[in-house]
Subunit: 462 residues, 2 copies
């Protein structure tokens, strides 16, 4: 059977088993499919059905799934179980996943759960809990391989033999000195393909790249992406080796940070957590979204106040209203484009705040070009294909000139504002994503009205 | 010296060397630092200085850097070199990077470059070039390890010995049958820590997860993220093993796709390529941005036409203009929030189009809540803290009612539109990101004006 068919079939079998709710079928299908697929299938069920399955699965089946489930589901699955079951499931979690989970539940539950753990697991957990969730220390695992440099390869293999299944990454092995300071790294292939009497220090790479435990998780993940690393060692201030961040964590971190940036850019506050969309309560959505909407609404009052204050101009040339929304919208759209270009270039490490003027100069030229071309198009449309008769006492050419010129200036200024705000925010050590779309749109709405009415007053001599 | 200081110092040394332009210094610093850091430093230089360095560095130094440079820079660096230099640099590129590069340059240059390659390298390249750039086949590497299942571990180690340095990933080894069909996989640790007489087929994991070569690259990368894979094997329709996608490629793919989504969501068309922001010509920016701006500008004419057609209402109650921008903006902001929530939930695999009504129902409740609270706030502001005197013949309470009620309805309808459009787009097999922000904002601008004026006409009996 071809690959795709085989995989589609397994995923159909998982869905069927989950929907049947039969524990026997779910156990059977869990042994056949990848636990990540079973977890995905579970997330797509409705809450009641999922809770029922999570509470009725045997601990052994659950322990394979748990790593791929959101913390709220793990909690749900554990709450109604015996202590033995809880222990079995928790012990099966990798150290770093366990730490993430414990950080997400309530304090009392965290204490209850960690008291169930074996001494080794608890020690590893306590070490990880010292660091905030969103730092390199909070995301690292302590299940990695380290060796002293004066061993032979034969001795090294013997030493690693015991921990070969408990370590998360074995493809990179770190070499430390007597004080647990990292002095080099080697790949598992360097052990496998070299003679046993060869010395570790002769095959290792010296000066590996490391991060300190308090480094922001995003920075650590970006380093791994930049250097194409499978694992990145984490050290403390004294350079003692504490743990490693693995490639799969780096991917998860980058995804979380992307989600955060995209949400911020749409005016959604707070943190998302790892609860699936449909399971987030309406009130949580409200809390994350209302403040921005409220703030922007009151800012938009400024636009309203400007519009309202041009009563004289509008009463003598009501046709101005026909192109007002276009001028405002064109500013919002070009401003958002510029902001996106700049924010993304900074996120990809292609642009630094030191290049402020080069970036603004580039956006100015783009804005001027878009403004001129669009302004000319619209002026031509007004003059040659008018939608409405121009009010008495106005010439069609003069009105075309007002709209075309305003549009050009509005697009140019919006492009500059859209580019400058994220750059300035970064210089001020703020997150550039926060000033993006909604804030820029609101700001250029205001500038658009001012530009339009000022030009109209001057050119039409209202 | 502590980690951070050491790394800052290396990065300072790289900057200093690059800015000095001295080839000797750059060679020295390239041997000390990671090539990715040198490449980053190069990208931050201005074009002229970067070109000068790229053409004057010796081929050996360049060949280490090349993997981390954008295609346009690699081309620049190769163009003025001898054939020997060109060959040395190209041979140093991993197969998949080489294929990416060849796909980015002109046809004639691609032919010239590939004729320089050794027979082995050319064969690997041709195999990769069979698949489009954005498929699993186009992103895979052929430099991976595969073994036949009836070998012993001792034989396997011997066989891998020759290719141990040329393979990109050795931590996952794939097992094939006589027809090159994949039958299992094992980890390098399974070879290292098992007795040499043990059989491969006894330690391997059967039924590994694979993708076919024509699978979209994003789907492949998402699978790797879901399953926490270091490498994902790629097969053809007949299940023959062709290559593997590695974890670092998966990260790059996800980043590219994120950039594409974010750009589309801001109305930026076309593909970005891997050229740094400041190096993209103004005309390219213009081409990618103008069409959306033009289309949205003409759509905004509809809003203008609606505004213009309410001359009677505005002349009898000019105070309506004071809250018009707020009502329009609140719709745009809440619509964009909903769209972001839905698009992101779908991208994270948490929401499927089959859950259309559950998602709309959730957004309706969120929209109703935000609308009611904000509508009440603004109505209270109008009645108790008026900014402007309400026009003659209108009661302050009636006006507060019009604005508050319109705002509630506008937010509710925008939330539904914002949630429904990306879901409908996905159902119609369109990219949900395309219908996001700018299209939704323009659409809800129109609905906002209609709602506001309709409610005002009815309630104020204008």
């Amino acid at each position: 059977m071809a690959t795709e068919q085989r995989q589609d079939q397994i995923s159909d079998e998982i869905t069927a088993a989950l929907e049947s709710g039969s524990v026997q079928e779910i156990i059977a299908v869990s042994e056949k499919g990848h636990p990540a697929d079973v977890a995905t299938g579970l997330e797509l069920l409705d809450d009641e059905r999922r809770d029922l399955i999570l509470t009725s699965l045997p601990a052994d089946t659950l322990s394979h799934l748990i790593e791929f489930l959101p913390a709220s589901d793990v909690e749900q699955a554990l709450d109604q179980r015996t202590e033995d079951d809880q222990r079995q499931v928790l012990e099966a979690l990798p150290d770093d996943e366990l730490a993430d989970f414990i950080q997400e539940v309530s304090r009392t539950e965290a204490a209850t759960f960690s008291n169930l753990l074996s001494a080794d697991k608890k020690a590893a957990l306590d070490k990880l809990l010292e660091y905030p969730e969103n730092t390199a220390g909070g995301r690292m695992t302590t299940a990695f391989a380290k060796l002293r440099k004066n061993l032979t390869i034969g001795q090294a293999i013997q030493q690693l033999e015991n921990q070969k299944e408990s370590t998360e990454v074995l493809s990179r092995i770190y070499i430390v000195d007597a004080k647990n300071r990292i002095v080099g790294k080697l790949r598992l292939r360097d052990l496998t393909f070299n003679p046993p009497e060869c010395l570790i220090k002769d095959v290792m790479i010296t000066e590996p790249i490391t991060v300190t435990a308090d480094t922001d998780q995003e920075e650590a993940a970006q380093m791994m992406q930049k250097y194409d690393f499978v694992a990145l060692p984490v050290v403390n201030k004294k350079d003692h080796l504490l743990g490693v961040i693995t490639h799969d964590d780096a991917m998860d971190i980058l995804e979380e940070e992307t989600t955060e940036d995209i949400e911020k850019a749409s005016g959604i506050g707070g943190e998302r957590g790892d609860v699936a969309y449909l399971q987030i309560p309406v009130l949580t959505h409200f809390k994350r979204r209302f403040l921005w909407v409220l703030g922007l609404a009151f800012t938009a009052l400024t636009s309203g106040w400007i519009l309202h204050s041009y009563e004289k101009e509008l009463s003598s040339a009501f046709i101005l209203t026909l192109y007002l929304p276009m001028i405002v919208a064109a500013g919002g759209n070009t401003g958002a484009q510029s902001a996106t270009m700049i924010i993304r270039a900074m996120a990809l490490g292609e642009l630094s705040t030191g290049q402020f003027f080069r970036a603004i100069w580039k956006e100015m030229r783009v804005g001027m070009l878009i403004g001129l071309v669009l302004g000319t198009c619209i002026a031509a449309q007004i003059h040659f294909f008018p939608i409405e008769q121009v009010d008495k006492g106005l010439s069609s050419l003069a009105f075309a000139g007002v709209v075309g010129f305003s549009l050009t200036i509005q697009i140019l200024s919006s492009t500059i504002i859209g580019a400058a705000l994220p750059l300035l925010a970064t210089t001020a050590r703020l997150d550039p994503a926060v000033v993006a779309s909604p804030a820029i749109t609101t700001l250029v709405d205001i500038t658009g009205m001012i530009i339009y009415f000022a030009i109209a007053s001057a050119l039409l001599a209202i």
